[in-house]
């Protein structure tokens, strides 16, 4: 809205206060946001701060267990596992955030159209979504990356495609139940067009459940990308990425070199866990009903 009037001002001030209130009210949310901030910081500053070059090999220092010099040990060609784990944060976060953003935007638009106007648009969209959902999602992602080629962009597209139906379905359902709500009809009586009603009245009300979906999906997206790398799709060695590192480490687990797979695996879990915890907090922030 461009016309900022005195009526809009208290709301602006209220939003910041509300975020602080949500963080204070629920310690789990506070911890989750703390963990999230840590991940973001490692993604942004990690590459500049790590003690070793993540790609530098050192054959004389291979397969060393964790020590003061190498917190997470070294791998089979002497690379520092800690540096690689931290540096990989940026790539993994980028993939998941980009994929979720694409599926959020595309899914929301499609879901709004199908849920509000219904009719044949709805039927066609539902058929398409059914078809995507008819594949086991990870398998579809495998197929897409295999067909389009092994690149990071293709991993992002594949992940976006398999997540999109969740958003489209969710938004469609949320829009559909509010299509004839009293406040929507009232907005029409106030002279709002369909598109305006959809954008200003209905869609914002779908945000709280969508935020939960976003946080779950960020987790899935990371798991998905790491899984694809694990089976050799997408990111290729020697790039530092959690899935590849676990895959490489897996070969050494039967001979007892546990640190190669454990630390990237733990980091991956930590990231997914953070996103899963984030959901409720994000929902509370976008939900005005949580204001007291």
């Amino acid at each position: 809205m461009t016309d900022t009037t005195p009526t809009d001002l208290p709301r602006q001030k209220g939003q910041m206060g509300h975020i602080i209130y949500v963080l204070r009210a629920n310690p789990v949310t506070l911890i989750a946001f703390g963990m999230f901030a840590f991940l973001i910081l490692s993604a942004v500053f990690g590459p500049a701060l790590v003690p070793y070059d993540p790609l530098a090999t050192n054959a004389s220092n291979a397969l060393q267990p964790p020590s003061w010099a190498h917190w997470f040990g070294t791998d089979q060609i002497g690379r520092d596992v800690f540096s690689r784990v931290i540096v990989a944060t940026r790539l993994d976060l980028t993939i998941s955030v980009a994929a979720v953003t694409i599926s959020f935007v595309v899914g929301s638009v499609l879901g709004c159209i199908a849920g509000y106007w219904g009719g044949w648009l709805d039927i066609i969209l539902n058929r398409c979504l059914d078809t995507i959902m008819a594949f086991p999602l990870f398998v579809l992602a495998m197929g897409i990356v295999a067909a389009l080629g092994n690149t990071v962009e293709n991993i992002i597209y594949a992940t976006a495609i398999i997540n999109m139906p969740f958003y489209a379905r969710l938004v469609r359902a949320e829009v559909n139940i509010r299509r004839d709500a009293g406040f929507v009809r009232a907005a029409k009586l106030a002279g709002s067009s369909d598109v305006r009603v959809l954008a200003t009245q209905i869609f914002p009300n779908a945000l709280p459940p969508m935020m939960v979906q976003v946080s779950l999906n960020l987790g899935w997206a990371i798991l998905n990308a790491a899984g694809l790398s694990f089976i050799g799709l997408g990111v290729s060695p020697p790039t530092a990425e959690w899935g590849i590192m676990v895959a490489e480490g897996a070969n050494f687990i039967v001979s007892g070199e546990w640190w190669l797979a454990l630390f990237p695996g733990l980091w991956l879990m930590f990231a997914v866990f953070t996103f899963n915890l984030l959901g409720d907090g994000l929902r509370d922030i976008v939900d005005p009903r949580k204001r007291t």
Binding site: G182, A190, G191, S192, R291
Partner: protein
Amino acid sequence: MLTVKDLSVMFQTRRGAVDAVRGISFEVSKGEILGIVGESGSGKSVTSYALMRILDIGGTIKAGEATYSGVDLRRAAERDMRDIRGREISMIFQNPRAALNPIRKVGHQIEDVLRQHAQATRYDARRKAIAAMEAVKINDAANRYDAYPFELSGGMCQRIVCAIALACNPRLLIADEPTTGLDITTQKAVMDLVRDLIRERNMSSILITHDLGLAAQYCDRLLVMKDGRIVEQGDPTQIFSQPQHSYSRKLVDATPRTGASVRDLLPKDMRAAAPVLNPSSAPILEVRNLVKTYAGKSGPVQAVKGISFKINRGQCVGLVGESGCGKSTTSEMLVRLMDATAGQIVFDGGDIAKIPARAFAKDPRRADIQMVFQDATDSLNPRYTARQTIAEPLRRLGKMRGRARSARIEELAGLVGLPLSLLDRFPHQLSGGQKARVGIARAVALEPKFLILDEPTAALDVSIQALVLNLLVDLRAKLGLSYLFVSHDLHVVRLLCDHVIVMKDGQIVEQGPAQQIMVNPQDDYTKSLIAAAPKPPERAIEIPRPELEKTHVEQTAIHDKRAS
């Protein structure tokens, strides 16, 4: 038979302990029907759950005694309670469809109870279940035995709930709002049935309801509850004619009844002089042969079958009917949210039925036809503050900006009696009555010529309903509005309207001046509607009481809080 002494119930919530019932005492004697009346949050339902020991998680009986035929209900072992429930004390609930297991045949649900209490064996359970269904006057019981709840009407579901409750011949029946959500003719049928069965079997009963009129008609004695306390008890006629406590007086006043005007609903000291209304005889809206056909699953369904009526400038017309009669469809078409299949809607001289609903948002007459919606909660966007909600039509249709708009919003808030301090609150921070006021302020913001009121008070407690109805009357006088008042409640319609239209199955069965319809109905359906409405006892002439009443504002605030 049942003695309750100093019963207190507490709920452990996230915000700390809440006292739902605060030390109430009463008795139910053999063969008596006791009514417990109160508005939402008064603790009346909690009392009954406490007696049955089926309180929700977090609820505990904090103190007091409840004795049923010598059994201490508070301390009895859970096993003994289970034998008492269903066999000695039974309950029927509001919203009968939800009260039945949706995926179990109703006959089996009755059998479950019979066999639990060893009243039937595997071999005769079916026969006894059918007998229990016949006892509650279900026709063709043997066939209904195999039905699932979703296949039955609301009234029929309530009969099944009664059959479950009465299958084992209990001595005490607790009915918790048994007819809320049912149509008025169904309500009468269910209530008559329950009363007859209770009398026939010489049972006792507790009827819990928010409807003072209904309680007065069916009960031998009444308790009035407020905030978990009993404020008054006694004979219905006496409570109606000479309420002792200020709260029960207010409740009695607010209950719509024959002979009372809309001003009579308010506490005495709040009654302003009746507003001067002068409807003209020039029509503002004329409906001709309006038809609406939906594409149903099994062919087209005609929801509105060619109706015609007229509304004059400044007039208030009531549109009455039970659920599914087409009254909501009609109002949707009039307010131009839905396209008519055929017919004309002549507004201010032009046929607006020709303009598609989608395009009407851009029509200059958009601001002239507005609506107040049924459910105040559903009709306010949870993300908008009261101020933003009222601003919406001003911004879009009124093209008002900045200070002018703020000033107008505050003026409107004053007009509908909404304190300015509440303007920046979100709907969930407002009470039911306050939300209704916001909805009304939004509807009158652009000074429409014609306003449709779609059951604007259906979700409100009676005391709040009284305030809102009076507000609507005042607005009509002040702004010279014409109303179409859509409602299922003839008593309420009569209070506000000059002219009444009765609809059934998409057709108008009768219309005429309100007084004439109420006193001398011609159509059988209208007669049954009027006969079905609860008839509270006549109010005796009041003796002025010395007790000081609270001021208007305070009372409004308190009750508005309750209503949320």
